[in-house]
Structures are given as C-alpha cells and as structure tokens.
Amino acid sequence: MAKLTIEELDKLREKAVDKLRLRESGENRGRVIVHLGTCGIAAGGRQVLTALLDEVEKQGIKDITVTTAGCAGLCSREPMATIELFGQTPVKYADLTAEKIKKILAEHVVKGKLIKEYALAVGSERVG
C-alpha cells in the first residue's frame, strides 16, 4: 500500500463504508427474506440466496437487507422468499430459481412492480 494523499484517503473511506453498511442502523427500504427451512434448502433455497446476494452487489443496492428465515409453511412450493418493503404489504414468491429472484429484485424491489405470475400471496391473501 502506497502512502495516501487526502483525496485517496477519502476514496478509500467511500469504499470502506459499503463494507460496514450492515452494521449501521441507517435508513433502509426493507428486506428480502429467503426461506431456508430444511425443505427450502433441499429445494435449492441456498442457490436462490447466493444469486440474490450477487445481484444485490452487482446492482449496488444499499438500502435493502437480505436475510433468511425458517420454513414458510408450504413445503411443496419452496424455494420461497418474502419481500417486505416498509409501508407496503409483504409479498411472498414461490417456486423460485436464481433467474426468478433476479427478476423480482429488478422489478419488485427496485421498481416497485409486483410480478404476479411468481407471487404466491400478498399479505395473507393468495394470488394464484
């Protein structure tokens, strides 16, 4: 590491801030919860989670928390994920794949558009 100038120090700080974002209680728009019960894992939930994390990084999304939770109670439709944007009704998506979660991230989480075909339920109400 070469010696820094003030500008380089500021740049380094900007990069480092991203790494620590998880630990700050800053503003946040909501969370994506991937269900990783035993059935979720068996159905490929881990791959969905990995794809999601990769995509979050690639798109530089900073105001969303990615987390996991236990079984969602409908093992036949795993892998599942719940999108909880603050101030909005949570939406559950079922039968996920890596491709589907990426699309959900781009459409629902970033643009706010529900993808009806993938959705299982809005709040406690079944969609289809």
């Binding site: 820094l4 003030i6 700080r13 990084e57 987390t67």
Partner: protein, 606 residues
C-alpha cells in the same frame, strides 16, 4: 458476493479470558461447514462493555445480542440463526427480574442510557483493520484540521469544547495546550498516558484494544496544533493485547502515510514511540512518568512549572490521558458546540463537565462492565438503570468513585450528578473512572483499609507524610479491624489525614486519605461499632464476630442433625444426634462454613 451477516465477536481482554478466541475458531469452522463463509463474516472486536455476560456476539444487521456462549453452543446457533434465520432465544440476555429474553442489544437496559463518543466504535469495527476505522469517519477530523483550520483554531476549538482531562485531575485540555502553544521552543513533545494503575480499572485499556486509531488520530490533531514531531505512549506491561493492537495500528497508519514523513502529502512529520511501564502506580502521575521515560526512578516532582512549559528533556510536553485523546477527533469533526451541549455547564456557561465519561463499573451490581455516559447523569442512574441494581437482593451501601483514593458515597448522595466539581465537593473525585459499588455485606472500615493499603504500598516514598503517614494510618485501621481500636484512634486518623493532604507533593499523597475521610464522615457508626462495641456490623472483620448455635432451634427444628459438626474444618463443634450442638469459641476460626451448611438457620453471626 457481499456478506449478509456480520457476527461481531468481542475479543476484549475480559472475553478473551473467557475463551473468545477458541469460540471465534469454532464459529469459523462451523460457518465453513455450512458453506456460509461467503455470506457470513465473523469480525473480532474490542470490548463490547457488557463484560459480565461474556463471551458474547452481536449479529448484524439486526443487532441480535448473544451472551455467555460456549463452544458447544456454536453448531446450533450457526444452523438455526445464521443459516435458517431463526434467532435463538436461549442464548439471549434475560434481565434478572424478568423471564422474557431481550433479542436486540440496544433494548437491553445496560446499553440504554449510554452515550458513546470515546468508545463510538466499540463492537462495530475490527480494531486491527484500519479500513474499518476509516469507514467510520476515521481520520476525517484530522484531515479537517490540517486542511481547514490553523493550529490556533484547533486549540480554540478544544478550549471551547470544555473538554477536561479524563486521567484524573480534570484539567481543561485546551488551556493546557495553549500553554504549550505559547511557550517558545525548538522542540515539543506529546505523551499519551496509558498507565492506568487503578486496581480493577480498564477504561484506557479498552479504548486502545477496541479502537487504537482513535487515539492516534487525536494525537495527530494535537501534534498539528502544537508543532510536535515526536510522541510517546506510556503503556503498562500488563496490557499485552492493548500493546499488540497499538503496534498493529502504528504499522497500518505508517503504511498509509498517516504517520512518518510528509503525512498525507502535507509536509507534516510525526513519530510515535511506545514506552512500556513496569506497573508502578506512581508512574501514571505525569512528572513521575516523564522521569520514568527519561530513565530515572519514577518519582513525582514538584510542579512549580508545568510540563506544558518544561517537561520531557526540559521541553514543553503535553501529557494527556488515552480517553482525552480519543475524544479529540470527534470534537474537531463535529465541533466544540456539539460536544459542549452534552453534560453540565457552570453558571456562566463555562466550566462544568462537558461530554461523556467512561467508567468501569464493578462490585456488587448485576451488570458489571465498561460504560460511557453523558456527564451530569446521576450515580443512581448508573448503578440502577445501567448496572441493574444490587445483586442477590442485598441492600446498597456505598459507591466509590475515582479509583483507589476516591471517596465512598452513601445512599443519600446517589442523586448527585457525575461532574468533576460536584464529586470533589462531597469528598470524592472523578478520577480516571473507576466505580466500585458495595452492599450491606461490605465493612466500610475494611474497605478504607484495603484501599489505603494499596496507595500506601504505591507511595514513591519521597514525601515523609505520604510515606510514613499513610503507614501509620494503615496501622490504626488494622488495629480497629482487629478489635483493638480506641476512640482516640478516630481522632488520630482525622489529624493524620489532614496533615498528609496538606503536605504531600503529588496527588497520590494528596488524595490517599479520601477513602478514610469519606467513610468516617458517611459511615461513622461503623467505626464506632468497631471501637466502642468491638463489633463489625457487616460481619466481615473476623476478630470481631462470633458464630453461635441457637440451641433451641438446633434441637427443635434440626433435631441436632450434626451437619455443621461434620463440616467444621476446625472440629470446633461438639454435639450428638438429636441433641444441642455447640461451638467452642477457642477453636473456631470463623470460616462461616457451619453457617452456610445449616439448613435450619440455627446458627447466627454477631
């Protein structure tokens, strides 16, 4: 792939001695086993503060707090929470009086009333990773100072903040800097005082262990203001982890060009040299410390001239405590106004005690640990709200503030605000932040004896009143606790105290009688019970207590069960089954075992 969980694992000295490093290994192994190592990171941090319940981790982003973890707990925790996202209740903290665990750290009362400035990064960064310090506004105060402020403006800002030295004396920091600033010299020095000789105190150690760069940045700002090129840090030898982390921090700061020549390309040079102290209490005193660095015996010197004018090698030397230095970057970055809005202010808007203070809270409270609180908070809030009150349903008796030569304050003073001047008024002091809580089982005469014994043996010996006077006081206190004290002894204690306070050179002698004076003032009845009735009301001074078996209870309730007889190591108890038992006072050495083992409460102490 970015991490979705950061497991902040405390590796402060307290948790390390409770097995934090093997725990860290266990976490890493288990996380790897579940192939979570790309998603879940374990970050070693400095002391989290709640040492009483360590080893502990805080899971971010949700701030879930797990305590008293054992290696056996790791597989379950990793699988349940880190993999499946189900926080595990049984490892959470449950307050003593309730049943429901509290998952989130900031909801735990221990953390509730705290305010972090000096410890602002505790538990949030890896102290051995400079980038993490930089991420949390690190070295921003310093760059602000060198790019937008003149040295004089820096000093004025520190003055305006009202910051007073955190090492004991409470001298206004800005004023001290101004003296050195105005003294002409070809060379000036800075010393970081991390001697921390108070028994049981660990404020400074924790700051260096959890956030060493905050101290380095503070010193960089001071060095810029005062034109200093050479800094010394005086750390006691018994602090290996603090030393290791400080060395690591020096290495990283030098690599980044934050220390050494032409710092940040701005033409400023600075070196920091580590000096390891051998652990003499007096060497924390600034003049003795300077002597020690120069290679002489650590003895206090007369301060007709302040070190700020003539210190190390006869040159102007600014010596400040670790916690004082750690406050500087925030004061520069956020401004004196912000800092001065916290805490207490004198009548004319100056003086008072601004900012926060770090205390190590120990003794008979539930939640022992390291706390940082805004000045002006009451002792009661610290002891009851943060400390969770007295353990085992016992009654509060006293709190000692200010370290070994601080005063003991009674229940009636618990609403006193924490403030340099208020504490002095009642015979105690802020000191460097030791806080010892005692309960009804502590004998105040014995407490005074204990702390006098400490300062007595740490006297450098230069002043006769301090060296001999404290020895005489100790003799008297020992006599009293042995039941050989007289009322005249109490008068003598007061006279000697006055003499020592008045005629000692340094504050070691000047404050040594505080524990005796305050206990005599606030707990007079205990001294009188010892000298007049030859009784120790707290039942701790062994020569003054007797164990007796109540024959009636022994026979009627206990049917002479004989448990006490079988357990007495001195064979001092005689008796037969179903018959009354008796203790032979000549043989009894007052160990208290019989009292503890009797299931029928037939034995009493008096």
């Amino acid at each position: 792939m970015p991490f979705r969980l950061n497991i902040m694992l405390c590796t402060g000295t307290g948790c390390v001695s409770n097995g934090a490093f093997p725990l860290l290994e266990a976490f890493e192994k288990e996380i790897k086993k579940h192939e979570l190592h790309g998603e879940v990171a374990v970050i070693p941090t400095g002391c989290n503060g709640f040492c009483a319940v360590g080893p502990l981790v805080v899971v971010q982003p949700d701030e879930i707090f797990y305590q008293r973890l054992r290696i056996e707990d790791v597989p379950f925790l990793v699988q349940e929470h880190f993999l499946k996202g189900r926080p595990v209740k049984k490892f959470m903290y449950t307050p003593p009086e309730t049943k429901e665990p509290i998952p989130v750290m900031s909801d735990i009362p221990f953390f509730g009333k705290q305010m972090l400035i000096a410890l602002r990064n505790r538990g949030l960064i890896d102290p051995e990773n400079i980038d993490e310090y930089i991420a949390r506004d690190g070295y921003k105060g310093f760059t602000k100072a060198i790019t937008t402020m003149t040295p004089k403006q820096v000093i004025d800002e520190v003055k305006a903040s009202g910051l007073r030295g955190r090492g004991g004396g409470g001298f206004p920091t800005g004023l001290k800097w101004e003296v050195a600033f105005n003294t002409q010299s070809d060379e000036k020095f800075i010393i970081i005082n991390c001697d921390e000789g108070d028994p049981g105190a660990f404020m400074d150690r924790s700051i260096v262990e959890s956030d060493p760069h905050s101290v380095i940045e503070g010193v960089l700002i001071g060095a810029y203001a005062l034109g200093v090129k050479q800094v010394y840090i005086y750390v006691r030898m018994e602090y290996p982890l603090a030393l290791k982390r400080f060395y690591r921090a020096l290495e990283h700061a030098t690599e980044y060009g934050l220390l050494g020549k032409n710092i940040l390309g701005k033409g400023m040079d600075l070196e920091i040299e580590v000096h390891r102290g051998a652990g003499a209490f007096i060497c924390g005193e600034e003049t003795a410390l300077i002597r020690s660095i120069q290679g002489f015996v650590g003895e206090a010197q007369a301060k007709y001239i302040y070190p700020a004018e003539k210190g190390l090698n006869g040159k102007p030397t600014i010596i400040n405590n670790v916690e004082t230095w750690a406050n500087i970057p925030q004061i520069i970055l956020r401004g004196a106004k912000w800092f001065a809005s916290i805490g207490t202010r004198g009548k004319n808007g100056d003086g008072g005690s601004t900012g926060t203070k770090v205390f190590s809270l120990v003794g008979k409270v539930h939640n022992t640990g390291l706390v940082e609180v805004p000045m002006g908070i009451t002792l009661r809030e610290i002891i009851y709200d943060i400390g969770g009150g007295i353990k085992n349903n016992k009654k509060f008796k006293s709190v000692q503030t200010g370290g070994p030569s601080g005063g003991f304050l009674p229940e009636s003073l618990l609403d006193l605000p924490v403030d340099f001047d208020e504490l002095l008024k009642v015979g105690s002091m802020m000191g460097s932040g030791g806080m010892v809580v005692t309960d009804e089982d502590n004998c105040m005469v014995d407490m005074a004896r204990y702390f006098l014994d400490f300062v007595q043996s740490e006297s450098c010996g230069k002043c006769i009143p301090c060296r001999e006077g404290t020895k005489r006081m100790l003799d008297i206190l020992e006599r009293i606790t042995f039941g050989q004290g007289t009322e005249e002894d109490l008068v003598k204690l007061e006279e000697l105290s006055k003499l020592i306070v008045e005629s000692s050179l340094c504050a070691l002698g000047g404050t040594a009688p505080n524990p005796v004076l305050t206990t005599m003032k606030y707990f007079r009845e205990e001294y009188e019970a010892h000298v007049k009735n030859k009784k120790c009301p707290a039942h701790t001074c062994k020569p003054l207590i007797t164990y007796t078996i109540d024959g009636k209870i022994c026979v009627e309730k206990g049917h002479g069960c004989g448990v006490c007889r079988k357990n007495c190591p001195q064979s001092a108890i005689a008796g037969e089954l179903k018959k009354e038992h008796r203790i032979d006072p000549a043989k009894c050495d007052k160990c208290g075992i019989c009292y503890d083992v009797c299931k029928f409460d037939a034995i009493y102490v008096d």
